[in-house]
């Protein structure tokens, strides 16, 4: 069968293939990193969303910070409200259901949903963002939502 037939196909052909494959890999990698990074849009900031004039009813994803002093959750009506801000624009976010445990005032959040006609954002999903810093609590502090 082919084992003997192709042994003469030779080292040079395979090494050409090797160099081509390496070149393709470098090409794809370089262009992907150069192009994907700046253009990949996971969420819009409230300011970007405002500039884009997203029509009410169109699904969008907003990301920003939960403004300090604005986070309200009513356990009986399951009504969740907070202001999502990016330092320039403030957007009122209204959601339903308990927020994720890590949703904190002053911390990052990403919300998915639609704009209402009054400019507020009706979130169908609220995602809390956390940073890469991990540490045990300081002595006076109890760890939050510790599993029993």
């Amino acid at each position: 069968m082919s084992v003997a037939r192709r042994t003469t196909a030779g080292a040079s052909g395979r090494r050409l293939l090797l160099i081509t494959a390496l070149a393709v890999a470098v090409g794809i990698g370089w262009s992907a990193l150069a192009a994907l990074g700046p253009s990949a849009i996971y969420y819009l900031t409230p300011t970007e969303a405002k500039a884009k004039q997203i029509a009410p009813g169109t699904t969008a994803r907003l990301g920003g910070q939960v403004e300090v002093g604005t986070l309200r959750y009513d356990e009986t009506t399951r009504d969740l409200r907070f202001i999502l801000a990016d330092g320039v624009t403030r957007t009122l976010v209204i959601g339903r259901g308990a927020p994720p445990a890590l949703l904190r005032e002053g911390a990052g959040a990403v919300v998915e949903g639609v704009f209402a006609t009054d400019g507020s954002f009706r979130a169908s999903s609220v995602i809390a963002k956390h940073d890469e810093v991990y540490a045990p609590p300081s002595p006076s502090q109890t760890p939050p939502h510790r599993t029993p």
Binding site: M1, A4, L22, G29, P136
Partner: protein, 239 residues
Amino acid sequence: MITTAFPRTIPMRIRPALAPASVVAALVATAMALVWAPTDAVQGDVQRVMYVHVPSAWLAYLAFLVVFVASVGWLWSKRPVFDAIAVASAEIGVLFTGLTLIAGSIWAKPTWGVWWTWEPRLLTTAVMFVMYVGYLLLRSLSLDLERRATRSAVAGIVAVVNVPIVHLSVTWMNALHQLPSVLRPGGPALDDRMLATLIVGVVAFTILYAWMLAARVDLERARQDRVLGSLLLKRAAGA
């Protein structure tokens, strides 16, 4: 002619130690992760998922880099052992990419609030997973050892671009996934005991990888020998 006489990939003296070493390392890492490492101030105990998630991701990177090196080795030298290493490492890499996704999902639900979202890190990792599953499928398209090895070597070289893309995706403008905690400018952003636990976890997973790789390479070498043996028999019968 294909040569099958090539020294085993991992020296025989280390080989028998790999299995017990990975069991011991896994036990030590588990004890450290569950008991010794302190509870995170913000996330609570759920942050301990990190001790599985991060070593799994490391292993996926390592495995796919080895696939790349072995693929280059095959195209350069045509030694069948390189093809055996490539397939062995790709399978382990797919396994641990899957584990990374699962552990990450379990970590994401109580912290972010969702099991999954199309965020850059998650998206690129899913793409990497699917591409290496494709690599394994590509390998089943041919019975011809040489042709299969050459085709998959090209795929194994091109697919490695996923590794830097996945790694750097967290630095893209608007990501949800947190930045690397260990490999970051300014030094690790972890408590010392957390960092030590993570390092032991990475070491334990790496030993496990070496063990799995050695076993799977042996299996593939036996397969190569069998296929070549039956080919030679057929040729002898035909002559």
